[in-house]
Symmetry: C2
Subunit: 355 residues, 2 copies
């Protein structure tokens, strides 16, 4: 991966930083934003006017297609600071490729790779102070693209805006994560947009997730829309199951997001010699394993939460409590990933990317 040296991004710096207004010990995820943001417009068939300016409002037509047709995709990434003040991204090439893959599926023009990295470098460098060292602290990066052309005919936009926002974050989940296995609602289907980080995939999950919350679960593990027989992903994270010593996760498909944390866990497992099976996961086998005591762990893997151990899952009328995961695979993978992210261990995979 080459660092970009071209210098075409216009930079308008903030007058006075807002950093003193933020309590970094009481961050709510995704609520506060750093001093600057990046934006670039697609007009007349090309990306133009890449600009870094103070985080602030946008002015858009109420007929902008993003409002009407959800033509928008995004990414989630994090910047980490080590104890010496060095700043790293984790596998940003994966996010760069994926936002363009998502864009293609949503009929959005791809964003140039070199400009993506140049924007990340300049933007993160400007707001370096917003990245706090210390385990769990990060600067969450939100690249996204949306359709900005005004017009309410149901057809692809001719104009788009690519942006990167940055939001300081602490560890994403606290406490137990209880999940419920979907029996009625679904997230995606064959031939659909489930593998894309398309905006509408997320809004569509809010209602069924609210229903789950009313029953005491934080997230839904989605199943296939056809028969609800196979476990897929949890909407904001991929899901891993440990039966005895074997780790199992569903294969990616056009229904399941190709998660960066997911593929990193698989690579770590292979390196550690942990038996791993990437194959369709039956609900019935997980329920049976929970009943006979061979289900040792369930955990989610995603950028926001890194690794989220699941403490219980609900299915039909029953709730299955899982053993405590102290010392389990989730603890091991979380530590291994964070040691790489915070530059505390050797980066044998070449996943760190210094800014």
């Amino acid at each position: 991966m080459n660092k970009v040296t071209q210098d075409q991004i216009k930079v308008q710096k903030i007058g006075t930083s807002k950093i003193d207004q933020v309590d970094f010990n009481k961050l709510l995820f995704g609520k506060d934003f750093s001093d600057h943001m990046f934006e670039c417009d697609y007009i007349d068939g090309k990306w133009q006017n890449p600009t870094i300016r103070p985080f602030g409002p946008l002015t858009l037509s109420p007929a902008a297609k993003v409002f009407h047709y959800g033509q928008a995709v995004f990414e989630g990434m994090k910047a980490y600071k080590d104890d010496n003040g060095k700043v790293f991204l984790f596998r940003p090439d994966e996010n760069q490729k994926r936002i363009n893959k998502s864009a293609v599926r949503m009929a959005i023009p791809e964003f140039p790779e070199a400009l993506f990295f140049e924007a990340l470098h300049k933007l993160i460098d400007l707001d370096r102070d917003w990245i706090k060292p210390g385990n769990g602290n990060s600067l969450y990066l939100r690249p996204f693209v949306m359709a900005t052309q005004a017009g309410v005919s149901a057809s692809p936009s001719d104009e788009y805006k690519f942006m990167i926002l940055m939001s300081p974050a602490q560890a994403y989940y606290t406490g137990d994560v209880r999940v419920v296995i979907a029996e009625h609602y679904s997230r995606s289907s064959n031939g659909g947009v489930g593998a894309a980080k398309a905006a509408g995939n997320y809004g569509a999950q809010f209602y069924p997730t609210n229903l789950a919350r009313e029953k005491g679960f934080q997230q839904v593990i989605w199943t296939d829309s056809d028969e609800h027989k196979y476990l897929e992903e949890a909407g904001t994270m991929n899901v891993f199951f440990r039966i005895n010593d074997t780790l199992i996760t569903a294969p990616i498909s056009d229904r399941i997001l190709d998660g960066v944390t997911r593929k990193s866990v698989i690579a770590l497992a292979e390196k550690e010699g942990i038996p791993i099976e990437v194959r369709p996961v039956l609900v019935s086998e997980i329920v049976a394993a929970a009943k006979n005591g061979t289900l040792k762990e369930i955990f989610g893997a995603g950028t926001a939460a890194v690794i989220s151990p699941v403490s219980a899952f609900g299915y039909k009328e029953d709730v299955y409590e899982l053993p405590s995961t102290d010392g389990g695979y989730s603890t091991k993978f979380k530590k291994a990933l964070m040691d790489i992210q915070y530059n505390r261990s050797e980066d044998t995979f070449g996943w760190r990317y210094e800014i």
Copy 2:
């Protein structure tokens, strides 16, 4: 349906109308907007500040949830003017109910029925001159709701904006409509949001529709995501098939939009004594009927196009040309619907709603 008499909407009138800048004989669908628009914000748990103001830009945070999570729903309606200058909507109660049904599925608060109608009345009345009489002319209305809270955590917004935009329209489709039957991509699935007019449902169709266009088709007829065996809807319209003298259309489900034009066609067919079957429609039976000459018509039904006769459909490697539909069901239903919409026939169903 009671007309609303309460008077709580603030009105800021435009200084000088833009109507002279619009060529009403060369309208592109959804491109020009009338002088005024309606907006109302959901803040602190209630809808407030309903306002009509000149059509113009919005100022939103780049972190507004609609950009990131597609939490947005919309409706499409039309206002028609008869030769005496009276203005009518067509079954607006159906749109009012449906936008709230869509909202519930997308975890968006419902918009009050009385305020919906009061807004329609005041807004249309202000921009009455934008509605031209004459067959095919209308003012297209676009009510929509979107999530406006700033924050990139994947959870429902606490703040929303409901708006109504109005765009002068002529007949939507001109020329032949050629459709292709989906064999790989899909629009929706059981347990998903296909029955909601959710923004993301439309953006997700753009890419497969582009692929269809490259092969000479204007629209895709979607099939079930599981086996692509059953014909469902065409994304911006429901679809009817005529085999011999029998009209056939798919039942509504959580994958298929409960179209107002669709249900009006069914009611008209029943009144006219046309045999109609509302049941799952196999791709194979339509292909067989095309081959043996019993497939007389295919047409789409939707607000934008009213009735769109289909001249040919593609399936696998073959293209099936359909007989000319002059004098067929599509011509009959289009005339019957437009005669009601333009106040040229008796309104036995009570579908007209005068503004």
